[in-house]
Amino acid sequence: MIYRETGQFKTTYAADQAIFPIVQDRFVVLLAAAAAFVVPPLVAGEYWLQAILIPFLVYALAALGLNILTGYAGQISLGTGGFMAVGAYSAFKLSTAFPWLNIVAVFLLSGVIAALVGIVFGIPSLRIKGFYLAVATLASQFFLIWLFNKVPWFVNYASSGTITAPGRRVLGVMVTGPNATAAARYVVALAFVAVFALVAKNLVRGRVGRAWMAIRDRDIAAEIIGVRPLRTKLLAFAISSFYCGIAGAELVFLFLGSAETQAFDINQSFLVLFMVIIGGLGSVLGSFLGAAFIIVVPIFLTNLPHMVGLDVSVALLKQIELMVFGGLILFFLVVEPHGLARLWQIGKEKLRLWPFPH
């Protein structure tokens, strides 16, 4: 940034290893976080909150989860949609079976359930690697969706097969269900994302994260220096699924309101994978940038013709959208295969030296 670390001397290791070692950085981030809690609910309209900000936060959480698994631990997964579905259906079952349970506890518990399912489907990763694993994780995707479709117990025997978020309160404010305001739902989603982004950041720079990265970079070498592949890989699957599970629960409870299994199909898995790759593999910030990009671009593309006053048919628009979307992904990969996070980093480095780069 335009400020520098000049004059800020560290006297303890703890201070040296802080997430934001520069005072100004810390200040700016705290301020931004506080602003994120206060400003949008007051300023942004219903449309902005509902159509852009809430899905952004929900998908950012899912992308964080997948980034832990794919970016840090190096296990490509195409089962994100399935794990999100586990979270959503568990949250639905928990909140309807125990109406007195606080919705925050419901979310956390459904995350735990998703984590357990994730461990089960992570077991093949011990033997299967690379793209074979990616395809194998599709098994979990298809199996889980089929299961939720087939067993009526999961939807409380509703004939429509739809799960609907019941209205629940946190601290006296309605946060889920049809009567909750978009602002309340936004704040809940933001709180979850903020807490879990912090957790993720600390996980990946600690012992656990280093073990993941060692496994990612060369698993045999990691094994030789004493990283246990079984525990490390399964832990990555568990934590990743935990995040995805909460994201799935939020998707239904805070964003959609009600959903069927189609909301968690294979396209969701790809969408989240896109976010991770476009944002940057192995970067917490990248998960947010990727989620923002993937959420905003389609909305922008849909509205663009209206903005410039063109009248295009819906079908044609859909096709152009697909083309531009695919083209943009190709473009970004060609320009910067390491994602938006890397671009951000490069920009920061440049600004640090600016205006005297030599």
Binding site: F131, W146, I220, F274, Q319, L322, L328, L330, L333, P337
Partner: protein
């Protein structure tokens, strides 16, 4: 409990033994379906073998080829010319992909290239539908979709044709890979990019050739699937059907794609017919994956894939 075990372990086999004609029909249906999957999986294998790219867009290439062919035929172009034009389009596509996607991304990590092919997938889907329309079209190039009966067993002409085509194609590809100069170059590139470059094999040309061949395979698969179920968007989902075949047979093996296809096709049909009703049916979406997964647990590189040797 005993009841359940009986229903799972005994009753299906009793059913099979009780009606052998039906069993043969199911098996044949499975083989035919499996070969159709193999046709799609072949395209994956070719590209993975020669460039290490996991080409997710193969399914859409099938759709794109079929759409182009049908589009041209609808415009009144006779079948042979339409076919030739489709071939030209697919080769042009190979050139474009090499120039726009592969060349800038050379030496990137496999997952980045995989992502790029998913981007390509979206692009081609939009482009194909924009150029030729999104409604379901009927593809008819003169293979009747009718059945005939041999010794009490029903067979379908179209499926038989598809099976024969697959067999012929594999034979041709095998000769192409083993006997021709360019086939040898392809194998060299697959073995080691750098070594191939150092003895003067042009990577660019090889990639174009291999994507063109995959395009041709896509045309054949498109014709077969198009005549079977109409040319429509769902053709692009074939990629998902072909993936279990692919991991079962191994990413790098042409015969593996065929054998994998047969195992998946037969396994899927048997599972659907004899075990499916136990769990409420509609298991075909995931059964193939679980089947492939079981095989993978014993052979992580697929049945015929190259053994993965890791050194530290």
């Amino acid at each position: 409990m005993i009841e359940l075990l009986r229903a799972v372990l005994v009753a299906p086999f009793a059913d099979m033994a009780g009606n052998p004609t039906f069993l043969v029909e199911v098996l044949l249906g499975g083989i035919a379906a499996g070969l159709m999957y193999s046709l799609v999986a072949l395209g994956f294998v070719l590209i993975f073998k020669a460039s290490g790219v996991f080409n997710f867009a193969q399914g859409v290439m099938v759709l794109f080829a079929a759409l182009t062919l049908v589009g041209l035929m609808d415009m009144g172009v006779p079948v042979p010319i339409a076919l030739a034009l489709t071939v030209v389009v697919m080769i042009a596509l190979a050139f474009a992909i090499e120039r726009a996607v592969l060349r800038p991304l050379v030496n990137q990590e496999p997952i980045i290239l995989f992502m790029a092919t998913i981007g390509l997938n979206f692009f081609l889907e939009g482009f194909g539908e924009m150029a030729w329309g999104a409604n379901v079209k009927k593809l008819d190039i003169g293979i009747p979709d009718t059945s005939f009966i041999v010794r009490g067993v029903q067979m379908n002409r179209l499926e038989l044709t598809a099976a024969l085509t697959a067999a012929v194609m594999v034979a041709v590809l095998a000769v192409f890979f083993q006997r021709t100069r360019i086939g040898r170059a392809l194998r060299a590139v697959a073995d080691d990019h750098e070594a191939a470059l150092s003895i003067g094999i042009p990577l660019k040309t090889i990639w174009i050739v291999v994507w063109s061949v995959a395009g041709l395979v896509a045309i054949v698969a498109g014709i077969m699937w198009g005549s079977k179920s109409g040319v429509q968007f769902s053709l692009s989902l074939l990629a998902l059907k072909a993936l279990p075949v692919l991991i079962l047979g191994g990413f790098t093996s042409v015969p593996g794609a065929i054998v994998g296809g047969l195992i998946i096709g037969v396994g899927e049909k048997l599972g659907e017919v004899y075990w499916g009703p136990l769990v409420g049916g509609a298991i075909e979406n995931w059964f193939a994956y679980v089947l492939a997964l079981t095989f993978l647990l014993f052979r992580p590189q697929g049945l015929f894939g190259e053994k993965i040797i890791e050194r530290v």
